[in-house]
């Protein structure tokens, strides 16, 4: 098994990455503007729904049921999809999934693919693997195209290029599309993308997609999108390959009535996104005549094992938690070092990697709880963040100094007498640092705390001392 989540294992830790990014005022401006716009739109269309809470509740329960019987539903999906003319493949990890894709492309004697936005393929690093195998991949979602042509990384789950402004995009398109002239209005840039991709849509023989939902009962797959590039990729090529994380299963077609109300309103603030495509296996005379589904584990079964954080897999990738997160809004997505950024990324990325990498991410949060409030499937992200911080410490992966400090604290807090001694010591020790009744600078490690806030000194009398004295007086 070699689970990897993009290049997250090699990424710098969150604080060091964030420090550089927050210095980039253009980036912060772009991120703040984009998230503000989506938040406003989302709030408006969510307010229209009098049954929003009931939908969230249903979604959570459907996902819970799915995960509890995931083996059953995966087999049911495989059977239904196969019956309808699809072929189901199973991939234990990212590399295995990439190999299956490459082998399929070779078996059809092709060397180009068109792709509709799939985060799962970013997770497996598919584009890089295709490149090494001599296959050219064309990203067709406008934002993904900007990221691909700009040799950049996605910074948001739904709008991966929100960190770029139109002038930057114009520069990228001029250079990479070999254009002589190009305006800088969003309309001009969108038209350039349409022209660039049109010929590829009509010509390329293999399409690659992810899935928003895969229905166990019917074997249907559903992709939700806005631009029509998704429809192009899944209905024009002769061959379609869909890379599907095992948590994307929903038990019944009826269950879609819940998610198709929650997802567009949460993700882009639309009542319904312009296009939803549903297909089941292959259809004679319409669209790809060969259809492959790759069911991907890549660490997901591991996540199932921890009951306290299992619901991380409920995520439907709407990105609402990113847009409201005070941390994400300052740093943007790149600081998280993973294709999954923001609050959901902070809990998903380390868990997929068995808590062996990206261990600073559970700390990349103020635990304000805004993410939980907007989550359409009610993932309790703050609670999971705390739980994962606990796991980081249990793993012994907390910094040595922190572990020493915690051990020392535990020693003194264990007994009343020891605590009293410590308090007495502190009262003497702090004399050097108290100025005008507050401590505003401490030496060494403790200085980290006082660098950004003042500290009240240890009072002259502790509660225990006061209590004992009061008791004596009464007698």
């Amino acid at each position: 098994m070699s689970v990897h989540v993009g290049d997250a294992a090699q990424a710098p830790d969150f604080p060091s990455a964030a420090q550089k990014l927050v210095a980039n005022t253009q980036l912060r401006h772009n991120v703040r503007h984009a998230t503000d716009v989506i938040r406003r739109k989302r709030a408006k269309v969510v307010d229209e729904m009098s049954d929003w809470e009931q939908l969230r509740e249903a979604a959570q329960r459907i996902k819970d049921d799915t995960l509890q019987h995931l083996d059953h539903y995966l087999l049911q999906f495989e059977e239904a999809c196969t019956r309808a003319g699809g072929k189901v493949h199973w991939a234990r990890d990212a590399d295995e999934a990439n190999c299956i894709v490459i082998d399929l492309i070779r078996s059809y004697h092709q060397n180009e693919v068109i792709k509709v936005k799939t985060m799962t393929s970013d997770e497996t690093g598919l584009n890089k693997a295709l490149h090494h195998a001599g296959v050219t991949s064309y990203e067709t979602d406008l934002a993904d195209l900007i990221v691909q042509l700009g040799e950049d990384k996605p910074s948001h789950i739904v709008v991966p290029a929100l960190h770029r402004n139109k002038m930057e995009i114009r520069r990228i398109f001029l250079e990479k599309m070999n254009l002589q002239e190009l305006g800088d209005r969003p309309e001009d840039l969108t038209a350039a993308a349409r022209n660039y991709l049109r010929e590829k849509f009509l010509r390329v023989k293999i399409g690659i997609s992810g899935a928003n939902f895969a229905v166990a009962e019917t074997g249907s797959v559903c992709v939700v999108e806005s631009e029509g590039n998704g429809r192009m990729c899944i209905s024009l090529p002769q061959v379609l390959i869909s890379l599907v994380g095992i948590e994307k299963i929903v038990p019944t077609f009826q269950d879609l009535e819940v998610f198709l109300q929650l997802l567009p309103r949460s993700a882009t603030g639309e009542r319904m996104n312009p296009y939803n495509s549903f297909w089941t296996g292959t259809t004679s005379g319409d669209g790809p005549q060969e259809f492959h589904v790759i069911l991907l584990d890549n660490g997901r079964a591991q996540v199932l094992a921890d009951q306290e954080s299992r619901e991380t897999l409920d995520c439907i990738r709407c990105g609402a938690c990113l847009n409201v997160c005070p941390v994400y809004r300052q740093t943007g997505g790149h600081a998280y070092g993973s294709v999954y950024g923001g609050p959901i990324g902070a809990i998903l990325t380390p868990q997929l990697q068995s808590m062996e990498h990206s261990q600073s991410l559970p700390y990349a949060s103020s635990l304000c709880g805004a993410c939980y409030e907007v989550c359409p499937v009610k993932i309790n992200i703050p609670e999971i963040l705390i739980h994962l911080r606990g796991r980081v410490v249990e793993n012994g992966d907390a910094p040595l100094t922190e572990r020493m400090a915690m051990k020392t604290a535990a020693f003194f807090l264990e007994s009343g007498n020891r605590l009293a001694t410590a308090q007495k010591l502190a009262r003497v020790g702090q004399l050097l640092f108290v100025r005008d009744g507050i401590i505003s600078r401490l030496p060494g490690l403790l200085g980290g705390w006082t660098a950004v806030r003042d500290l009240s000194p240890v009072p002259k009398q502790s509660f225990r001392e006061w209590w004992a004295a009061r008791h004596q007086e009464k007698q």
């Binding site: 939908l55 249903a58 509890q68 009509l202 029509g228």
Partner: protein, 209 residues
């Protein structure tokens, strides 16, 4: 033997432990399923939502469909459209060239002036048109590659809520299904909504009473 499959299922079962919970442990569905609007309110809401998403709506009586199509095409200076094989001939006005999709190539579809189809259902609350790609709606490429889509919707086809539409759709999941809510759009550049990316840039609806 598929070792990857066995290993994945094994790992999932191990992670879950032996569970006793029954399948479909009661999902509460207390959200809105049935509609609350009257027929005419439902139609009005559908029109309002279509407008919200930049679609253009014309209304016509049951016997005026061909005339409405003729007027629409004339206003746009179009000489003709592609049509799916099973479209009703009484919809087609004289004086225009309607080409049936008998295995047209993608390039031929791309060169067309647009496409005329019916639909399977519509959703008022979200301004959505449902295509099941039957004989009167054509294969998926036909309503995707052209830059102009003219769609005939009967008022009786409009349901109010998403669950009502999904219930209908669950009856024909073996066909591909596309739901269309306004023309294609993107907000990927500085969150400015741009109408028309790859799908038809213009969606026009003839709403038949």
């Amino acid at each position: 033997v598929d070792t990857a499959k066995d290993e994945m299922l094994g790992r999932i079962r191990e992670a879950l432990g032996r569970f006793a919970a029954p399948l479909r442990s009661s999902v509460p569905r207390e959200y809105r399923v049935a509609g609350v609007l009257s027929f005419s309110e439902r139609v009005e809401l559908f029109i309002e939502r279509l407008h919200d998403y930049d679609a253009i709506v014309h209304r016509a009586g049951a016997h005026e469909i061909a005339a409405a199509i003729a007027a629409t095409l004339a206003a746009r200076g179009k000489r003709g459209l592609l049509i799916p094989l099973g479209i009703r001939t009484e919809w087609l006005p004289p004086g225009f060239l309607f080409q049936r999709d008998a295995e047209l190539s993608y390039d031929e579809i791309d060169r067309s002036e647009g496409v005329l189809t019916g639909c399977a259902a519509a959703i008022a609350l979200t301004g959505t048109i449902v295509l099941r790609h039957s004989e009167s709606e054509g294969r998926r490429a036909l309503t995707l590659i052209p830059d102009y889509h003219l769609c005939v919707v009967y008022e009786q086809q409009i349901v109010e809520t998403v669950p009502q539409a999904i219930e209908q759709m669950s009856g024909y999941t073996r066909s591909p299904i596309t739901t269309v809510s306004g023309p294609s759009a993107t907000s990927d550049i500085e969150m400015t909504r741009v109408k028309g990316v790859h799908g038809p840039r213009t969606l026009e609806v003839i709403l038949v009473s």
